[in-house]
């Protein structure tokens, strides 16, 4: 049994905006019955303002597919096309209070239907042949390299399993898993390279400060918290970073080690090799 949030259950059992708009201004159709889920999104759009006046969905699929479709229609109503086009699969999943990781592809389907509808509205032909032109990686579910790369970059995916959860690629016969592995490897190698190039550039003081803050939040604090510790950024003076250890880190005999071997090392690696971390007691 899946652990669905109350919001998913609510929108599954009592979906909002189920149905189809007659003579819609835009239509987006994605998925297929063979793949296990499909969504038809119809929109009514005010041509002067570009505001989405109404949105309806018809979905074949499981509870999370139905809930994701319904959530999408709720999220875009009242927004302009431009605003709506910024919605990502993550936003849909967040609106639902999260989805089981194996079901993230349902939120991706929502995003894709919206994109298809917007493209349809803008007059761009919904090219069926694009699929044939593109490099299809997963033959079972017809997933292109472009779609995989996009899911990786937007959702920070690291493993083949992640990619399957978000795009379905690799979830059928599994023969394309080595290819997905290769795509992942190449993508992340490129990221590291471009980061290294970035590091070569001189950061302004403001950039450096915000990068230090970001690194502490994303890379350092979560790791300390695992052991019940925490960190406070006290001040930054050129390359000197003053911090205070909190929680179980406070008075921990390994505190000094943590500062030099973990915190300073991370900041040197990700911000500037000249950084020195000092503890404020």
């Amino acid at each position: 049994m899946w652990e669905y949030t109350d919001k998913v259950k609510e929108l599954f059992l009592n979906p909002k905006n189920a149905g189809e708009i007659e003579n819609p201004d835009a239509v987006g159709e994605v998925g297929s019955i063979i793949c296990g889920d499909a969504l038809k999104l119809t929109l009514r759009i005010d041509k002067k303002t570009g505001i989405i006046l109404d949105a309806k969905f018809k979905t074949f699929g499981c509870a999370s597919a139905i809930a994701s479709s319904s959530a999408l229609t709720e999220m875009i109503k009242g927004k302009t096309i431009e605003e709506a086009s910024k919605i990502t699969n993550k936003d849909i999943a967040d609106y639902l209070g999260g989805l089981p990781k194996e079901k993230m592809h349902c939120s991706v389907m929502g995003m894709e239907a919206l994109e298809a509808a917007i493209a349809n509205y803008k007059g761009a032909q919904q090219k069926k042949e694009t699929l044939a032109e593109e490099n299809i990686i997963c033959k079972c579910f017809g997933v292109t390299e472009r779609k995989i790369l996009r899911a990786i970059s937007e959702n920070n995916l690291k493993t083949v399993e992640d990619v399957t959860n978000y795009t379905k690629a690799g979830g059928g016969c599994g023969k394309c898993k080595p290819q997905i592995e290769k795509i992942l490897k190449e993508y992340w190698e490129k990221q590291v390279k471009s980061k290294e190039e970035d590091k070569g550039k001189k950061l302004t003081n403001l950039e450096k400060i915000s990068l230090i803050k970001e690194t502490i939040e994303r890379e350092i604090r979560p790791n300390l918290r695992i052991d019940g510790g925490d960190i406070e950024l006290v001040d930054i003076e050129l390359n000197k970073v003053y911090i205070r250890l909190l929680g179980t880190c406070l008075g921990c005999p390994a505190g000094g080690f943590t500062i030099k071997e973990f915190i300073e090392k991370k900041l040197k690696e990700l911000v500037d090799k000249d950084i020195i971390v000092e503890e404020v007691k």
Binding site: L13, G36, D37, K58, T59, C62, G171
Partner: protein, 384 residues
């Protein structure tokens, strides 16, 4: 109200079974292998349970039964034991519709040098026995074919299969986990060498199974340990559950004929009413050679998990072969092997009954289900 119609997944423990188990969970906690009377006297009760299991199977002797922890262990034991006994034989025959307990093992064996033939089934879920015959090779070690399918209830012609295997002198194993207690089979008449069964499908608790090993069949233990089960399966006996399994077998034997008639009536009523009330619906699998308690029905253009969750909302417990319910992205391997049309493939629901189901419960399902299918079809893009 809870209406439990998922008995091929597991069953309620019968009151008689629970009562019989209780003393062995409280006062009689001794180890049957002990020398002292307190422990040693428990051996007698295990022997009695073994007799009950043997009797339900029609085994020649209780010593042909060893207790295991579950059906999966029995399947693994049967296949691995046989492969060890015939180290020069590298070929296995099974079917595309086996339970994962056999299929996953076969997939693994393929990675370590064994060749596996997976027999096809037709649209009714039935085998072609000619295909079986010509698949047998000089180094075929074992044929492992289930008695009845857990998803569709389809029964294979085990008597004929056993005779083919016997003729070609190949060991024959059957996973009879779903057949036990639902079909009357007599191992005195059917020459099967190894039979896997499980307690929790016949109103005994989870955590106990058994393997029938015909006298004279080469055997090599799978779980190595103490001298329990005459050295054929190490590990201290799961005493209370074994006692429970014994009682469950006695009850199954006693009620099989009468209860199956009633269960079959309820299943048929459920199936026929659904087909009649809900359009674009089909039954998956052979409706004649089938367990009396199982029906697998597909609803076109709707998805199984969505149906299940709406049924759950109404207190009805069933299961589905859709991709979404399994956590994998592909629908049931059984339905795919049968070539169920793709518009029906994701929308399958399995109802599996037991002797505890009542006619009121079945009527409640018949009344509830059409609304659910209608609601889902209303929001399906494939229904105009």
């Amino acid at each position: 109200m809870i209406v439990y119609v998922d008995n091929n997944a597991t069953t309620k423990i019968a009151d008689e079974v629970f009562e019989a188990m209780k003393p062995f969970l409280t006062d009689y906690y001794g180890n049957p292998s002990s020398m002292h009377t307190f422990g040693g006297k428990i051996r007698r009760f295990i022997d009695k349970a073994r007799e009950s299991v043997a009797s339900l199977l029609g085994a020649e002797s209780p010593s042909e039964i060893i207790f295991t922890s579950c059906g999966t262990e029995s399947d693994n034991t049967a296949i691995i034991s046989t492969l060890r006994s015939f180290p020069n034989k590298k070929h296995i025959i099974t079917t595309k519709v086996e339970h994962p307990a056999v299929l996953s093992l076969c997939k693994y064996l393929e990675t370590i040098g064994y060749r596996v033939t997976y027999l096809n089934v037709n649209s009714q879920g039935q085998l072609d026995l000619d295909e079986l015959s010509y698949s047998i090779q000089s180094d075929t070690a074992i044929i492992s074919i289930m008695y009845a399918n857990n998803e569709t209830g389809v029964i294979f012609p085990i008597q004929e299969i056993a005779e083919i295997a016997r003729q070609k002198n190949v060991v024959f194993h059957t996973d009879a986990v779903q057949a036990l207690g639902k079909i009357d089979f007599d191992l005195k008449k059917i020459p099967i060498d190894l039979v896997s069964i499980s307690g929790h499908k016949i109103h005994a608790p989870k955590g106990v199974g058994a393997l029938y090993i015909r006298k004279g069949t080469k055997f090599s233990p799978f779980i190595l340990g103490g001298h329990q089960e005459e050295g054929r399966r190490g590990g201290t006996e799961n005493v209370a559950s074994i006692i429970g399994f014994g009682v469950a077998c006695e009850l199954a034997k006693k009620y099989m004929e009468e209860e199956n008639k009633r269960v079959k009536y309820l299943r048929d009523k459920l199936e026929n009413s659904i087909l009649e009330k809900i359009p674009n619906t089909r039954v998956n699998g052979d409706r004649i050679n089938r367990l009396p308690n199982t029906t697998n029905i597909s609803f076109e253009f709707v998805e199984g998990e969505a149906i299940l969750l709406m049924l759950d909302q109404k207190g009805i417990c069933a299961s589905s072969g859709s991709a979404c319910t399994s956590g994998s992205l592909t629908p049931s391997h059984v339905l795919r092997a049968m070539g169920v049309p793709f518009t029906f493939l994701q929308g399958s629901i399995r109802f599996s009954l037991s002797r505890y189901n009542t006619e009121e419960e079945i009527d409640y399902i018949i009344e509830t289900l059409p609304h659910i299918i209608n609601r889902l079809r209303e929001i399906s893009p494939y229904v105009k």
